[in-house]
Amino acid sequence: MAESIKNKNIEIVGFACSYCSFKASEMAGSLRMKYPEGVKLIEVPCSSRVDPAFIIKALIEGADGVFVAGCHPGDCHFIKGNYYTRRKIAALKEMFNAFSIDGRLRLFWVSASEARRFVDKVTDMYNNIKEKKK
């Protein structure tokens, strides 16, 4: 923990739904789209698999930002999973807001075809956090 905080690179951990955002990230790779190397993904079967404890752990252990990326509302492969995700992430954002660490957690909806959107979202988040860290 101590070392990674000293590390100047921005580290972002993203949880990506295997049915949409992860596929979008694969497509982004195939299309040779570039995004900062600090963005690293963990594949989950559905964004609703993301336990807020994971996010807390990632931030405490030194990640500068965490994002959860799932299917657009209504498009969840598991029918309703992403609505639960939204509730949990909203609650967690409220909590981080209370601790004045807002902006470090984001929730994206990225469908399997939206490689460009995936890249734009993560790049924007990266730049935003980098700006704040200066």
Binding site: A2, E3, A53, R86, R87, A91, N97, A98, W109
Partner: protein, 335 residues
């Protein structure tokens, strides 16, 4: 709102009447010449006290995981304790069937840690409501001191007449056993509705500073009425590695402060209880290090519950927000 006026002798007849059935018990407060505290009454309610000005633990803790059917239990406790019961019932940690919960107007409490003894308790109930007694932070900032939760409530009007009011059919059945007419309850009560809590705001450094004293004894968790898991995630090596797992982690990542994972433990626990926390401050009471935990747990949970217009323990039928959703909500949580 209809209810019945409650005289001192009515309390005896109502509760002793309840206890007349074999297997019925009442959890309330018992006061004798030396001590006052939680007590389970059987047979009769000798030395029963409606109010206990000292807080040591949340009474909801004691009957968690009560599943025996057919038992009859009556809880006559503070609003924060009844609210914790309501949450535990939603979480099926209690058998709802034979249970009746009555909340009593609470004047606020003093920490048992702070007080030198519990002698000379006032005889007159109105003396409890004097402003000059020292109060715990949790009580000063309490958002529900009124006996308005559970199956029924015992309330005091502005002239300190006692009223018993039913909120559910169960409460109504109990109160029906009491003689006297159903009458309109006065509007003006001794304890008014509390102001909406201020939006809690702090920062991580403040938390780190406050937690610097933490020894991770986890008493706060163990005494929390709504931390109901039979086996906590923090008992495993997953978040708080010990022994080999700790060594492994150190070899991988380098130095660590010990005890390791204080912020992680408190923040994750804060999230876990965020929708069910009643802000009673039992955690702070249990902390041997005197860490001001209530302000964090109560502050965070009130914000997180506010997000879903939820209030823990307010209503038996309100689902816990993380178990449900609306399709059209929380758009501003999306980036």
């Amino acid at each position: 709102m209809k209810g019945k006026e409650l005289k001192s002798r009515d309390i005896d007849s109502l509760f002793n009447g309840f206890l007349r059935d074999e297997g019925s018990i009442i959890l309330g407060f018992k006061k004798d010449t030396i001590t006052i505290g939680h007590h389970v009454f059987k047979g009769n309610i000798k030395d029963f006290s409606l109010i206990n000005p000292f807080f040591n633990a949340n009474g909801a803790l004691y009957f968690r995981r009560l599943f025996s059917k057919g038992s009859r239990l009556l809880f006559v406790l503070r609003p924060c304790e009844i609210r914790a019961y309501v949450e535990l019932i939603k979480l099926t940690q209690m058998e709802r069937e034979g249970m009746i919960a009555i909340s009593v107007d609470c004047p606020g409490t003093e920490s048992v840690k702070e007080t030198k003894g519990m002698t000379s308790l006032p005889e007159d109930i109105r003396d409890y409501f004097k402003e000059d007694t020292p109060k715990r932070w949790a009580c000063i900032n309490c958002r529900e001191k009124r006996g308005v939760v559970g199956d029924g409530g015992i309330r005091l009007d502005k002239d300190f007449n006692m009223w018993i009011i039913p909120y559910t059919e169960k409460g109504e059945a109990l109160i029906a056993t009491l003689e006297g007419e159903w009458t309109d309850v006065p509007q003006d009560m001794a304890i008014k509705q509390d102001k909406e809590p201020e939006v809690f705001k702090t920062d991580l450094d403040m938390l780190k500073k406050d937690l610097s004293k933490c020894i991770l004894c986890m008493n706060c968790r163990d005494m929390c009425p709504v931390c109901y898991c039979v086996d906590c995630v923090f008992n495993t090596d997953e978040y708080l590695p010990k022994g080999d797992a700790l060594l492994n982690k150190i070899l991988r990542t380098g130095e660590v402060d010990l005890p390791q994972g204080k912020e992680l433990f408190h923040l994750i626990r804060m999230y876990h209880v965020s929708q069910t926390c009643v802000g009673c401050g039992a955690c702070e009471e249990a902390c041997p290090q005197g860490i001001p935990l209530t302000k964090y747990f109560k502050g965070i949970s009130e914000r997180l519950q506010g997000l879903f217009s939820y209030m823990s323990g307010r209503d038996f039928n309100e689902p816990i927000p993380y178990t449900t959703f609306k399709e059209d909500e929380l758009k501003n949580a999306e980036d």
